[in-house]
């Protein structure tokens, strides 16, 4: 089954945390990592995320596709920053230590390299925790988690419904497109864009119409079983908080606090080692 969640069911301390805890921790952790450019903190965070990874008993090859994808993205991001603005960091740090030139305006500076190091560290701090979140959170628990952190349950449930029906709709798309191909609808790259758009409509229109029927069935089924009856609802897959949940959130909050304090101390988001030299 193709799903945006790639839940891997193992028994580990990370798995045992509730989905809500993991969601809150993910949000705080990534916010902290995004906020700060303090290399000292950024160096610690990846170590923490690798440690969590080991703790979760998720193996690298379980998630190599997601990791590979994001690593390529990280490389691309760094490359583009350098291409478009090779002296970006000189402006940020206010000094210029030239190392060597690649021709034209592409002069490599220590500041720029240091800035890229920070970018890489940010990626290394966040990617593993995101991957960890999607592979240790049971999709069934996700809606309950959203609800717990304050999202209205009708909204939270729509996420769960999407997870439930996306594979069905994918399958239907596949079936319809095969039958339309038999009638000569060409979806291959050989055709020009106008033709391909036309072809897409031959598949999408039937898909939309049949999805409408589906929606009527689901909403009837949900109403008949009392969805929307009360202001609150409980969750079969919901789990009570344990001390580990509270501890995890506290640690993440500590990291965020550290990031905020460092911002104050450094007088901005950047920690500048060049100012002293």
């Amino acid at each position: 089954m193709t799903n945006i969640f790639n839940y891997i069911d193992r028994s580990s301390p990370v798995h045992r945390l509730t989905g809500a805890t993991k969601l809150v921790c993910l949000l705080i952790w990534s916010f902290a990592a995004m906020m700060t450019y303090d290399t000292r903190l950024l160096a610690i965070l990846p170590l923490g995320s690798f440690a969590l990874f080991a703790l979760s008993r998720i193996r690298l090859r379980d998630v190599r596709f997601m990791l590979g994808f994001t690593l390529v993205f990280m490389a691309l991001n760094n490359l583009l920053v350098f291409l478009f603005s090779p002296q970006h960091a000189v402006g940020l740090y206010g000094t210029r230590h030239e190392l060597f030139s690649l021709g034209g305006r592409y002069v490599v500076t220590s500041e720029q390299l240091f800035y890229h190091l920070n970018l890489v560290l940010k990626y290394l701090a966040t990617i593993p925790v995101v991957v960890l979140f999607v592979s240790t959170t049971n999709p069934s628990e996700f809606a309950a988690s959203l609800n717990r952190i304050g999202v209205k349950y009708t909204v939270a449930y729509s996420v769960s419904l999407a997870l439930r029906y996306i594979p069905d709709i994918q399958r239907e798309y596949h079936d319809i497109s095969q039958a339309q191909q038999a009638r000569g609808i060409e979806m291959s790259r050989k055709e020009n864009i106008v033709k391909r758009l036309k072809s897409a409509s031959a598949i999408l229109i039937p898909l939309i119409l049949s999805s409408m029927d589906r929606i009527e069935t689901i909403s009837n089924a949900m109403e008949l079983r009392g969805f929307g009856k009360n202001k609150k609802r409980t969750w079969y897959m919901g789990r009570p908080f344990t001390k580990w949940d509270i501890l995890s959130i506290a640690v993440c909050a500590g990291i965020l606090a550290a990031a905020i304090i460092l911002n104050r101390v450094n007088g901005g988001r950047f920690w500048n080692p060049f100012a002293r030299g």
Binding site: M1, P139, S140, S160, L161, L163, R164, P167, D168, E172, D175, I176, Q178, A179, Q180, Q181, A182, R183, G184, I185, E186, S201, A202, I203, I205, P206, L209, S210, D213, R214, T217, I218, N220, A221, M222, E223, L224, R225, G226, F227, G228, K229, N230, K232, R233, T234, W235, Y236, M237, G238, P240
Partner: protein, 570 residues
């Protein structure tokens, strides 16, 4: 006695806001606690609307005007609210896949309890209990995609059983099930009724299948009115069913062909309760002997030949194992088997949607390996089950012309070919209509016309009559037979045993990726081993033959088919 009534309609009528005529007229109906009722009627007779009036979707989700009186558990639904009604009436919808809301079985069963804010320990306990009642307790953590149609229906039933309702309402419970699973579903409904004591209302037009277990009354509907409300024995003794467009049980039809007068005291409600006197049995035997078997059609020259086809999906699941079969020019063949048996995969391989890993296909002697999907479509047309899955144009003409236009045929020639296809399909009067103005059966014809326009010589239809009542079924099938007589070779993938019996000359039976039988339908439907492996059901004609002392039950079934083909639908 009246306080025992859980549902009461008095001179009840209903008209949807969007419609110019009422859908229900003057309904008088009382359902008592613990009763079991079958509501039967052709499409459009108002039975689904009546169901909506019982479960509260009317007046809360579908708006309209009502006249007369309706009470659920002594109160008017309008005052109870939808959620109030659903405390008393649990509904199992027709589409057991579409109504599966949860990501897993357990969550789906728990859905109503979650909405009731039940605490976790009690919820887990009640889910476990309901799951056990329907026999799905070993699948609690499975996703819907891992379940069969029958299992999904069990989940839906458990989902309403978790709340102690007074009425269980089943909307066409047999629609998407294969014959054996449908039989099991009827048995399960019967057991559940006995253990819970709830009143059961089954809405279904497949009378014979529901009557496999006893029901107290049958309510027959037609054109928005109740035509009959009587015991099944009485109903089967008259000709009301046939007149209202509902298929009689096959054994009743056979008795009538033999000139036996069916009377309530013969207990005709089921083949197992049926009592026949010797004189009647002799009539049946005499009818059986009256005509020699019609000559079997000669084996035609092969059009499509499959040799040792093997196919496995990328995940390693072997969907077809060593399939060798041949379909002759001008034949009308059924492909049967359970979901996942390989019948759809086989047709996908034939159409080129999937590629076989071993073996080969030949069409009219030509090796098909090098043919693209598009080229195969010029020879073999594929019609999907639901016409809404194929139709993408607003106008009928454009829809039928679609395949020709993508092939770059000159517009002049397109006009000619489309007009021919429309005439063959009886759609000529509608040629300038929008597709949306057509009925389901007519849309089906549009999709068939759009395939015929490409002039294939073989047509494969996936479940051509799924969800259709007897009249529409007959209409579609007679049309296909007509095409067959014009020289088209027709292959039908189906669950419907009546379709096999009445229209297919031969059936290919798939089971777990293998071809387990390739024989005439009378032989397959009287072969116990094949029936059980392919999840089919024995035809009641077989048992009638035994009951009347006809030794050659297969010959008896054959006699019935011949009689229908020669005298009833020549």
């Amino acid at each position: 006695m009246m306080e025992d009534a859980i549902i009461r309609f008095e001179h009840f009528g209903f008209q949807y806001n969007a419609q110019s005529e009422p859908t229900l007229y003057d309904i008088d109906l009382t359902v008592r606690r613990g009763e079991k009722i079958l509501i039967a009627g052709p499409s459009g007779c108002g039975k689904s609307t009546l169901a909506h009036c019982i479960n509260g979707l009317i007046p809360f989700s579908y708006k309209g005007t009502q006249t007369g009186k309706v009470e659920i558990a002594g109160k008017a639904p309008a005052q109870m609210g939808l959620f109030g009604v659903s405390r008393h009436v649990g509904t199992v919808l027709q589409d057991s896949d579409g109504q599966f809301i949860g990501l897993t079985v357990a969550e789906d069963i728990a859905f109503a309890l979650e909405n009731d804010c039940l605490g976790e320990p009690e919820m887990h306990e009640r889910v476990a209990k309901a799951a056990k009642l329907v026999g799905i307790e070993s699948h609690l953590l499975h996703a819907p995609s891992d379940l069969s149609g029958g299992q999904k229906q069990r989940v839906a039933l458990a989902g309403v059983l978790v709340e102690d309702v007074d009425v269980l309402l089943f909307d066409e419970p047999l629609a998407n099930l294969d014959p054996a699973t449908g039989k099991a579903a009827i048995e399960l409904i019967d057991e559940i009724q006995k253990t819970t004591g709830a009143a059961v209302i089954i809405i279904e037009h497949r009378l014979e299948d529901v009557l496999w277990r006893e029901v107290d009354r049958v309510v027959l509907m037609g054109k928005g009115r109740i035509l009959a409300d009587m015991s099944p024995d009485e109903l089967l003794s008259g000709d009301l069913l046939v007149r209202s467009g509902i298929r009689e049980p096959l054994y009743i039809t056979a008795l009538k062909y033999a000139g036996v007068q069916v009377r309530p005291e013969m207990a005709p409600r089921s083949i197992h309760t049926l009592r026949l006197e010797e004189a009647d049995r002799e009539k049946v035997r005499a009818w059986y002997r009256a005509a020699p078997p019609a000559p079997r059609p000669e084996t035609a020259e092969p059009l499509l030949e499959a040799e040792h086809i093997r196919f496995a999906y990328p995940n390693g699941r072997e969907a077809l194992r060593d399939i060798s079969a041949s379909i002759g020019k001008g034949e009308m063949v059924a492909i049967v088997g359970t979901n996942g048996a390989g019948k759809s995969t086989f047709s996908k391989v034939v159409c080129g949607f999937e590629t076989e890993q071993e073996g080969g296909l030949r069409f009219a002697g030509e090796d098909m390996r090098s043919l693209s999907i598009k080229e195969r479509a010029d020879r073999i047309g594929y019609v999907m089950q639901n016409p809404n899955q194929m139709i993408s144009k607003v106008m009928i003409f454009d829809e039928v012309a679609l395949g020709l236009r993508t092939r770059g045929v000159p517009e002049e020639e397109i006009r000619e070919k489309v007009e021919d296809a429309l005439k063959v399909c009886g759609l000529w009067p509608f040629r300038s209509w929008p597709v949306s103005a057509l009925s389901f059966g007519q849309k089906k014809r549009v999709t068939i016309a759009s395939i015929l326009a490409l002039e294939p010589s073989l047509i494969i239809l996936d479940e051509p009559t799924a969800g259709q009542d007897y009249r529409h079924y007959t209409e579609i099938m007679e049309f296909l037979r007509d095409l067959n007589k014009r020289g088209y070779t027709v292959v039908m993938i189906t669950h419907d045993m009546h379709l096999m019996l009445e229209y297919a000359q031969r059936a290919l039976v798939f089971s777990e990726g293998g071809l387990i039988a390739d024989d005439e339908c009378a032989a397959i439907l009287t072969d116990r081993e094949i029936i059980s492996r392919a999840s089919l059901k024995e035809t009641s004609l077989y048992e009638l033959a035994l009951l009347c002392g006809v030794e050659d039950s297969r010959g008896f079934v054959r006699r019935f088919i011949d009689h229908e083909r020669e005298e009833v639908r020549p």
